[in-house]
Symmetry: C2
Subunit: 191 residues, 2 copies
Amino acid sequence: MNLLLDTIARYVTLTPEEQERVVSATEFQSYKAKRILLKEGEICLHSYFVIKGILRSYTIDENGAEHVVSFASPGWWIADMYSYLSQRPGQLYIETNEDSEVIMLSKENQERLYDEVPKMERFFRILIENSLVANQQRLIDNLSFTAEARYDKFTKKHPDLIHCLPQKQIASYIGVTPEFFSKMKARLLKK
Amino acid sequence: MNLLLDTIARYVTLTPEEQERVVSATEFQSYKAKRILLKEGEICLHSYFVIKGILRSYTIDENGAEHVVSFASPGWWIADMYSYLSQRPGQLYIETNEDSEVIMLSKENQERLYDEVPKMERFFRILIENSLVANQQRLIDNLSFTAEARYDKFTKKHPDLIHCLPQKQIASYIGVTPEFFSKMKARLLKK
DNA sequence: GAATACACTTAACCTAGATTAAGAAATAAA
DNA sequence: TTTATTTCTTAATCTAGGTTAAGTGTATTC
């Protein structure tokens, strides 16, 4: 449970009472591997802060192809932001990759927290700023780099994830098919 | 000058004194068409709220190709978010498309505003949430849709912009070359 | 521990979109 | 009004990455 408070402490300083309010606004939960927490068309009622394991979010397009939107390892949040913020049906799936533990925060409780503990509004503001920057960078990378360069960037940025994710998920994240990814990897080994 | 206060009023309610603080934290500026406000390698000192005209942000990749990251028409903000938030050299250019008027807000003044007028922290939090959602959607669209579908979405989402942007900028925004864009448009006309 | 499903590889062939090049239209500049 | 500069179009050719298909691990299930 401390991972959350430690993460918050990196951005804002909470009093013990404020920490208590944060804790009581959240809910602990653990899930088996391959458990789907959210499906397309559902409303994303919680955002998840990962304590243990790995979650991922993805869409399935009209041809049935899966596109990974994000991975979340311990210390990171995951949600269908559109659906969570608007409380309307979204397009994302959220699924555990392995046995996982999360802390759940509902939209209501988050809004209540903003009023009770204004520092939490700052905390989340900064978190979202960081997501926005990362996301924008990923967009730029997709527009201007080759698949090989994107893979290279991914391995450097997430050296830990490389080993515990199935290749097809990495392929999907960088935006290529598993077949092409496999071919590309073989090509890279020859160098 | 009222466009800014009106926009803010859509999300939070400010007292007259708070409005005054907002106004005095900002600075008005007008620019001729094709004026570059920010270059790659520079620090983005301000974020710009557009009153009149159109601005755009873009990167230039290693092959010299331009990639439009965003357009801003009246009522919208634009900045190199990475550089603005971190106050480090960024990779984006920001340029006026036409004669334009903007309201400028520096990072310092924005942070001061957060403390003086906490509602402004909420305002910007919501704004950034919206950007994040839009940006994530654009990423998904790039991964799962064809260029034609992305163009179609763009025309529906920004019917106003279609007519006042050079085609090559629209092509760049949706992620294709001007030549392919031209071919695609001709193809669409035949239907 | 056989059976089934799933992840990964390889290879032949295919296509959306890129590149190159050259001309036509439109803007701007002089 | 002419000249330059930039934008847009068209067409031929090329390529990064997709598709299809078949085969080889490797988990998972019963």
